[in-house]
C-alpha cells in the first residue's frame, strides 16, 4: 500500500456527472468534493436517485465524471485509458457487490484467489490464512457458491475484495440481499478489515443499521452532499437521514 497522499486515499474535487443532454439532462452528481482518509470506514447514504451509486462508480473509476477530478491513491483517474483503469481496478480497488457475483464454477477458495489469478500473482499466505479464518467457512471452503448460504457467499466476496490488499474497498449495498443476522456477520467482517488490516472501506447503503457500523456517514440528496458526520449509533444515523428528508 504505497501512498503518495498521506491524508486521503480517495479524493473528489468538484465532481459533476450529467446524464443526457439539454433539457432532459439529469445532474446525478452536482459539484461534489469529498476526501476519504486512509483506514476509515465511510457509509454513503441517501434516498433512491440521490446519486450515491453514481458517486461510488465515479470514485472507483467505473464511470467517468463529466467534470471535476478524482484521485485514487494519488493517481488522477479521470483521464486514464481503459488499460490503465484495468490496472487500477486490479491493484488498487476492491469490490463487494449486492448480488455477490461469485463465479459459480469455482470453489469458495478459488473465488477468493481469483483477483490474484487474474493479475498472475501469488497470495500472501499470512493474509490468506487470516482471511480464511475471518470468513469462517470451515470445511465449506472447497464448496461451490451454489452450496453456500447468501451470508457465506457475501463473506467470500468480501475476502475476494481484500486478498489483493487494495488501497480502497468499495461495497455496493453489500447487505441488500441478506437478512439481519447474516448482514451483521458481513458488516463485522468489513469492520475487522478496517480495524485489523487498516483497510479503507467505502460502502453505499440505504440501511441505517448497516451504516451505523461505519466511522462516518455521508448523506447525498439530489447529487449533493448534505450531511457529513460521525456515524455513531443506528438511531443517530436515522436522525441524520430524517433531517434531510425534512429539509
Amino acid at each position: 500500500m504505497d501512498s503518495t497522499s498521506p491524508q486521503s486515499i480517495v479524493s473528489a474535487t468538484d465532481v459533476h456527472r450529467r446524464f443526457g443532454e439539454g433539457d432532459a439532462a439529469v445532474h446525478a452528481l452536482d459539484g461534489i468534493s469529498v476526501d476519504f482518509p486512509r483506514g476509515r470506514f465511510t457509509a454513503i447514504m441517501g434516498p433512491s436517485g440521490s446519486g450515491k451509486s453514481t458517486l461510488m462508480h465515479v470514485l472507483a473509476g467505473l464511470d467517468r465524471p463529466t467534470s471535476g477530478s478524482v484521485l485514487v491513491d494519488g493517481v488522477e483517474i479521470s483521464d486514464l485509458d481503459d488499460k490503465q483503469l484495468t490496472e487500477l481496478r486490479r491493484d488498487k480497488v476492491g469490490f463487494v457487490f449486492q448480488f455477490f457475483n461469485l463465479l459459480p464454477v469455482l470453489t469458495a477458495e478459488e473465488n477468493i484467489r481469483l483477483p490474484l489469478s487474474i493479475a498472475g500473482r501469488k497470495a500472501d499466505p499470512d493474509l490468506m490464512a487470516k482471511l480464511v479464518e475471518a470468513v469462517n467457512l470451515g470445511d465449506r471452503l472447497s464448496h461451490r457458491p451454489a452450496e453456500l448460504s447468501g451470508g457465506q457467499q457475501q463473506r467470500v466476496a468480501v475476502a475476494r475484495a481484500l486478498i489483493s490488499q487494495p488501497a480502497v474497498v468499495f461495497a455496493d449495498e453489500p447487505t441488500g440481499n441478506l437478512d439481519s443476522t447474516t448482514s451483521e456477520e458481513v458488516l463485522a467482517l468489513l469492520r475487522r478489515a478496517v480495524d485489523e488490516l487498516g483497510q479503507t472501506v467505502v460502502m453505499v447503503t440505504h440501511d441505517a443499521n448497516a451504516a451505523a457500523i461505519a466511522d462516518r456517514v455521508l448523506v447525498l440528496v439530489d447529487g449533493k452532499i448534505v450531511r457529513d458526520a460521525e456515524a455513531g449509533s443506528a438511531e443517530r444515523v436515522h436522525d441524520l437521514l430524517k433531517q434531510d428528508t425534512v429539509s
Binding site: 472507483a60 481496478r89 486490479r90 469490490f95 449486492q98 483477483p115 487474474i118 493479475a119 455496493d172
Partner: protein, 849 residues
C-alpha cells in the same frame, strides 16, 4: 483464467456437448471422406500391384485419347514376335483384357456391370498369372471358364456349374472350372472377372489376331528399366512399353482421377456442413457471452483486462473444437462405410478393405475442428470488450444486442449483391475457375442474407406466426413475441437452416429443369419407336444386335449409333456421334441451326455437322475444316456441312458418318440401336420378339420405348438427387441442433419468466406449446428464406443454359414438402427444450437469480 474457461465447460457438460455436436458432424464428414477415398485408393493399389506382380514390362497400345470408359484399343498380334525377339526377354505372353465381358446370372441377366467394369481376360503362363485359384483350376478348353469369387458368391455359382458369358458375340454356355481371387484381395469393388483361354477370349471380344497387352519377364541380369528401354527402341509408335511398376502407377493414376472427383464432391458437401456448423458456433457463443455479461463485468471490476476475457472465451472455443475434432475423427472413421453404402445405392461399387486413417486426415480433423470453432467464436468473444465493468453492479444485466445499424444493413445488402454478381461472373466464365467463384459468391450471399435477416425476422414472424396465434391464442402470441424479442438470435438460428434448405431446393429446382429440358430435347429429336442400349445405359453393345433386329418382322428401320471420344480441334477426349447415314433419317432429326435432315443423310466420309455452341467456341463456320485424332491414333479431317442446337448434349461436339467407325477403334460395337416399326405393326408383339432374341443372344441389351427411356433418364437424375439430398441432410441436421441449442439457451435465460407464467396458471402443456411454436416459427423463417435463395440460385445457375433451351420449372410440390419438413423439424427440435421448460419447478424458477 484458463481454469475458469475449463470449469465453465465442465459445469455445462450438456451444452458443451451440444455445441460441439454441430462441428462433430462437419468434421465427421471430412474425415469420413478422406478415410473412404484413401481406403479405396489403397484397395485399388493392392489390386493393381497384385495384377502386375511378376511382370517386368508391359506392352499396350499407345493411348492417344483419354476416354472415360477405360477402353483401350487392341493392337495387332504381329507385335508379339518383335517383342519376343528383343534381347533380354526371358518370356513374353500376349493376352486379352477387355472391360466388357458379362457373366450372366441364373435368370440370364448380367451380374453387376452398373458402371463397374466386367473384365474378360485370357489365361496366361503361371509367372504372369496374378490370380489365386481358390477352387478348381485354370480354363483349359474353349468351353471352360473361371470367374472371380465375389461374383460367384453373388450369383450362387459353384465349380461344375454351367454358366453363360456374353461379350461382343452371342452369349455362350461354359463349364465353371475354377473360382479365383486376386492375391489376397477378395473384392474388386463391383467389377467382375471372366477368365477364358486366349482363343476363346479373342472370339468373345472380337479381337481375333489381336492383343490388348503383352506381359514380359526379363532374363536374369536384365533390369526391368533396361528391358523397357530396349522394348521402346524396337517397337513401333502405335504401342508403348512400360515397366511393371510404371504400369501400376498409370492404372493408379487413372482411378485416382475418378477418386479425386469423388473426393471433391464429398468435400463440398462437408464444407456445407462445416459452414452451417460455423453459424451455430457463432450463435451459441453470441448467446452465452450475452448471458454471462454479469460474470464478465464482475471479472472486469476485479481487474481482468479485456484481453483476458477474450482469451477465456477463446480457450473455451478451442476446447470445444478439440472435443469436436476427436469425436468427429472417430465418427468419421465409422462414417466412411456409410458413405460407401450410399454410393452402393447408386450402384457404384468401390473396393474398400479396412479403413485407412492417414496422418493427414487426423491433422486435418484437428485443424478444421479447432480452427473453425475458434474462428466462429471470435466475433462473439470480441463483443465482450464492449462489456463495461459497471454493468456488473446492476441486476439482471444483459449485454445489449447491437441495434441493427443502417450501416450494417447496407453492408449486408452489398455483400449479398456482390455474392450474386460473383456467382453470375462465375457461371458465365468471366471469373475462373468458375466453380470456385460460384461457391465464393454463394457463401457471400448466405452471409449477406444472414446479416440482413434480423430485419426480416419481425415481418416474417408475423407472417408465419399470425396463423399460429389465431388458432392457439396466448401460446401462439407468446411464441411469436419470443421469436422477435431477439431478432439477431432468431435470424442466425434460422440462417443455419436456411443454408441447408437453400441448397436442397436449388438442387431440386435445377434437377427438375434438367430433367424437363432433357426429355423435351429428346422428344424433339428422337423419332424412333424403340431404343436398344446396354443395361447400364452407357456401355457398348455388339454391332450384331443391329443386324439381328433389323431382320425381325415389323421392324422398319434399325439404325446404329456410336458415341465415341477423340481429340478434336484441340480438345482432349471430346465426344462425338457416328451415325449410319442410310438409316439415320428415319430414327432421328437434329434441331437445325444451319442445314436440314438431307445434310445428315447425305454426310460423306469427310463431312460433319457440328454443335453450333461448340462451333462458336472453335470459330468454325460451315464449309470450314477441322481435324480429329481418334483413339487408334489416326487423324481425320472433316468439313463442316451444317450446325445444330443440342440442348441436352446428346450428340457431343459433332455428328459424322460411321463409315470411319473402324478408325475410332470399335468397328464391332455400337452404343445404341434406334428402331422404327412398320405402319400398323403391333408394338407389343415386335417388342416380345426383340426381347426374346436379345435375351438369348445379347443379354446385356435392354429394350426401351421412348417413354421408358425418358423414365430411365429421370430415374438416373432422381437417384443422383437422392444421394445429394442424403449428403445435404447432414447440413440440415446440423442446423436442427442449432435450433435445439438456441431454444435451450433462451429457456435458461427466461427461467424466471417461465416460472411467472406457470405461477399465473399456465399449464405445462401450454408452456411446451409456446416453446414448440417458437421453434416452428424459427424453422419456417429458415425454410422460407432457404426456398427463396434456392430459386435465386437456380435462376443464376441456369442463366448460361437458357439459350440452350434450359427451361426452369419450379417444383411447387417439392418446395411445399420442404416447408412441411421444416415445420416437422421445428417440432422435433423443440421436444427436448420444451420438456425441460415445462418441468421447471414454479418456486425454483421464481427464486432463480
Amino acid at each position: 483464467m484458463t481454469q475458469v474457461a475449463l470449469r465453465n465447460l465442465l459445469a455445462r457438460k450438456a451444452r458443451t456437448l451440444l455445441t460441439s455436436l454441430a462441428v462433430v458432424l462437419g468434421v465427421m464428414m471430412v474425415t469420413g471422406t478422406y478415410v473412404l477415398t484413401d481406403t479405396i485408393d489403397q484397395s485399388f493399389s493392392q489390386i493393381f500391384e497384385q495384377g502386375n506382380a511378376g511382370i517386368d514390362a508391359v506392352v499396350t497400345s499407345r493411348e492417344t485419347v483419354d476416354t472415360n470408359d477405360g477402353q483401350e484399343p487392341s493392337f495387332d498380334a504381329g507385335i508379339f514376335d518383335r517383342v519376343d525377339a528383343v534381347e533380354g526377354v526371358d518370356e513374353a505372353s500376349g493376352g486379352i483384357f477387355d472391360p466388357q465381358v458379362s457373366i450372366l446370372d441364373k435368370e440370364g441377366e448380367p451380374i453387376g456391370g452398373h458402371g463397374a467394369p466386367s473384365f474378360g481376360a485370357s489365361v496366361g503362363p503361371d509367372r504372369f498369372d496374378a490370380l489365386t485359384y481358390a477352387e478348381g483350376r485354370k480354363p483349359a478348353g474353349d468351353d471352360e471358364v473361371v470367374i472371380d469369387k465375389q461374383t460367384a458368391g453373388k450369383a450362387g455359382y459353384a465349380v461344375g456349374d454351367r454358366i453363360r458369358v456374353a461379350g461382343k458375340e452371342d452369349a455362350k454356355e461354359y463349364e465353371l472350372v475354377g473360382v479365383a481371387t486376386l492375391g489376397d484381395v477378395d473384392s474388386f469393388g463391383g467389377a467382375s472377372i471372366t477368365l477364358l483361354t486366349l482363343d476363346e477370349a479373342r472370339r468373345v471380344t472380337r479381337k481375333q489376331g489381336r492383343f490388348d497387352q503383352i506381359s514380359v519377364a526379363a532374363a536374369p541380369g536384365v533390369t526391368s528399366e533396361e528391358l523397357t528401354r530396349r522394348l521402346k527402341q524396337e517397337l513401333p509408335r502405335s504401342v508403348e512399353a512400360q515397366t511393371g511398376s510404371e504400369n501400376t502407377q498409370t492404372q493408379k493414376d487413372d482411378v485416382g482421377e475418378f477418386i479425386s472427383i469423388l473426393k471433391t464432391a464429398l468435400l463440398i458437401f462437408s464444407g456445407v456442413s462445416l459452414f452451417v456448423a460455423a453459424f451455430l458456433i457463432f450463435n451459441t457463443f453470441s448467446i452465452t457471452v450475452a448471458q454471462r455479461t454479469r460474470e464478465f463485468s464482475m471479472l472486469r471490476t476485479i481487474g481482468a483486462s479485456r484481453r483476458q476475457l477474450v482469451r477465456t472465451v477463446m480457450v473455451e472455443a478451442a476446447v470445444i473444437g478439440l472435443l469436436a475434432s476427436v469425436l468427429g475423427l472417430l465418427a468419421g472413421i465409422g462414417f466412411a462405410p456409410a458413405i460407401n453404402a450410399l454410393f452402393g445405392a447408386l450402384e457404384i461399387d468401390l473396393p474398400s478393405q479396412g479403413s485407412v486413417v492417414a496422418t493427414r486426415t487426423i491433422v486435418l480433423a484437428f485443424v478444421l475442428g479447432i480452427g473453425l470453432t475458434v474462428l466462429a467464436s471470435l466475433i462473439p468473444a470480441l463483443r465482450i470488450t464492449r462489456v463495461a465493468p459497471i454493468t456488473g453492479l446492476r441486476e439482471g444485466a444483459v449485454l445489449e444486442t447491437p441495434k441493427s445499424h443502417r450501416l450494417r444493413t447496407v453492408l449486408a445488402a452489398g455483400l449479398t449483391a456482390i455474392g450474386v454478381v460473383a456467382m453470375l461472373l462465375g457461371v458465365f466464365g468471366a471469373l475462373s475457375p468458375g466453380e470456385l467463384w460460384v461457391g465464393v459468391g454463394a457463401v457471400a450471399v448466405f452471409i449477406g442474407v444472414a446479416l440482413l435477416s434480423p430485419r426480416l425476422v419481425g415481418p416474417m414472424a408475423s407472417l408465419v406466426g399470425r396463423p399460429v396465434e389465431r388458432f392457439r391464442g396466448v401460446s401462439g402470441r407468446l411464441a411469436r413475441e419470443n421469436a422477435v424479442r431477439n431478432p439477431g438470435r432468431t435470424a442466425s438460428t434460422a440462417a443455419a437452416l436456411m443454408i441447408g434448405l437453400a441448397l436442397v431446393s436449388f438442387v431440386a429446382i435445377f434437377a427438375a429443369g434438367l430433367r424437363n429440358s432433357t426429355t423435351a430435347a429428346f422428344d424433339k429429336t428422337i423419332k424412333a419407336d424403340l431404343i436398344l442400349t446396354n443395361d447400364d445405359g452407357f456401355s457398348d453393345i455388339s454391332a450384331g444386335v443391329n443386324r439381328a433386329v433389323a431382320e425381325l418382322d415389323g421392324v422398319e428401320v434399325a439404325s446404329p449409333g456410336r458415341f465415341a471420344q477423340a481429340n478434336t480441334a484441340g480438345d482432349k477426349g471430346g465426344y462425338l456421334t457416328l451415325v449410319d447415314t442410310q438409316t439415320v433419317g428415319s430414327v432421328m432429326t437434329l434441331d437445325w441451326e444451319q442445314g436440314d435432315d438431307s445434310v445428315l443423310t447425305g454426310l460423306g466420309r469427310a463431312d460433319a455437322v457440328i454443335d453450333e455452341k461448340w462451333g462458336r467456341e472453335k470459330g468454325l463456320e460451315v464449309g470450314e475444316r477441322f481435324k480429329t485424332q481418334t483413339s487408334s491414333g489416326k487423324t481425320l479431317t472433316y468439313t463442316v456441312r451444317g450446325s445444330f442446337v443440342d440442348r441436352a448434349d446428346f450428340n457431343g461436339d459433332f455428328v459424322a458418318s460411321d463409315v470411319t467407325a473402324a478408325a475410332y477403334g470399335e468397328p464391332n460395337s455400337v452404343s445404341q440401336v434406334l428402331l422404327t416399326l412398320e405402319e400398323g405393326a403391333d408394338t407389343g408383339a415386335v417388342r416380345e420378339d426383340i426381347d426374346a432374341l436379345v435375351k438369348d443372344r445379347y443379354p446385356t441389351v435392354d429394350t426401351k420405348t421412348k417413354v421408358e427411356y425418358k423414365d430411365f433418364i429421370s430415374e438416373q437424375v432422381n437417384q443422383l438427387l437422392g444421394v445429394v439430398y442424403a449428403l445435404l441432410a447432414l447440413a440440415v441436421i446440423v442446423s436442427l441442433f442449432g435450433i435445439v441449442n438456441t431454444l435451450a439457451l433462451s429457456i435458461h435465460e427466461r427461467t424466471r419468466e417461465l416460472g411467472l407464467l406457470r405461477a399465473v396458471g399456465m399449464s405445462r402443456r401450454q408452456v411446451r406449446r409456446v416453446i414448440r411454436y417458437e421453434a416452428v416459427i424459427t424453422a419456417l423463417i429458415g425454410a422460407v428464406l432457404g426456398s427463396v435463395l434456392g430459386v435465386l440460385f437456380a435462376l443464376i445457375m441456369s442463366r448460361p443454359l437458357a439459350d440452350e433451351g434450359f427451361t426452369l420449372s419450379i417444383p411447387v410440390l417439392t418446395l411445399i414438402a420442404l416447408l412441411v419438413l421444416a415445420l416437422v423439424a421445428g417440432v422435433i427440435a423443440a421436444i427436448g427444450p420444451a420438456r425441460r421448460a415445462s418441468r421447471l419447478d414454479v418456486l425454483d424458477a421464481l427464486a432463480y437469480e
